[in-house]
Amino acid sequence: MIQVPIERKVLSENDRVAAVIRSRLEAIGTLTLNFIGSPGAGKTAFLERTLQMLPPGTKAAVLTGDIQTENDAIRLARHGFPVQQITTGGACHLDARMVDSHLWEWRFEEFDYLFIENVGNLVCPTSYDLGEDGKIVVLSVAEGEDKPMKYPGIFRKAELMILNKVDLLPYVPFQPVLACEYARNIKPEIDIIETSSLTGAGFGDWMAWLDRRRITKHNLCLNSPAFA
């Protein structure tokens, strides 16, 4: 009997594809964000309003993942940006291969942003690197404050938590302060923005965050060997 040490990531093949995607997007300076949240947390509505609010001339594209239907792509496409639906046919998450096979039909040198809406799920999408610059977790106030504690994985990996549907606060027993405290217990440096895609509350802060993030990425890219 022999024991062979392997010491390799289980998802090493996914990570390899993600690294290729990342370096290609890096070379053209597209900021790529992976939105993760429970079914119905409001990811699509949030992205719809984001697309509406992008400054004129901004180039953005959206990939949206669902197990079935093209509904989200149809909603997102109304805002005049290129959108592709990835239907996973059962898988509860997007993986790098799915993204890779949908991306390159677009002329990417033109894009400032690539938004990826993951399949509604707080657990599985967390494990799969899609080649993004950052993960954003969308939590809605109807889900309960304790979700960061119950699903720590995504709150640990996300750089920003969108606390969404704050227009519902008068109607649901939810304490934003607690939700933020729980999220910061998991990841002290996580950014948090409270929003409502219905009323537009918080979108000023969000659009400013997005712009700052894009500029940081852009400056990083200018200093990277790919640009030299």
């Binding site: 009997m1 022999i2 024991q3 062979v4 040490p5 392997i6 010491e7 390799r8 990531k9 289980v10 998802l11 090493s12 093949e13 996914n14 059962g90 898988a91 509860c92 998450h93 993986d95 799920n121 657990v123 599985c124 967390t126 494990s127 720590p152 994985g153 995504i154 640990r156 990996k157």
Partner: protein, 107 residues
């Protein structure tokens, strides 16, 4: 659902390793799952067994080892070496301890 995909990736890795060691038969693979990896060990075990049972890879056992952070790694693979006569048939260099990356089991 997700654990099914993880089980699939582990089986692919085992298959890759088996090809690197002609004549050897994998029978146990160990994975380390961190507390934040978002993978449930029991559920993974269930999916893994369901996929292996009745397949060409059976019998193959999964050993889940707890780990820290979001680690999700394949740690090691145990394989039977071929019988001496099989070994000469397969390939002399197949899976001896001198092979790169291999070591004799300590147990």
């Amino acid at each position: 659902m997700h654990e099914m995909g993880i089980a699939c990736s582990i089986l692919e890795a085992v298959e890759k390793e088996r090809k690197l060691h002609p004549g050897c038969r994998p029978y146990k693979v160990a994975v380390r799952i961190g507390q934040f990896a978002g993978v449930d060990g029991d559920s993974l075990q269930f999916c893994f067994d369901a996929m292996v049972n009745g397949s060409a890879q059976a019998p193959l056992e999964l050993q889940v080892e707890p780990a820290l952070g979001d680690e999700l790694d394949i740690a090691w693979l145990e394989m039977d070496e071929p019988e001496p006569e099989e070994r000469s048939l397969a390939s002399v260099v197949s899976c001896g301890p001198n092979r790169r990356g291999s070591q004799e089991a300590t147990r």
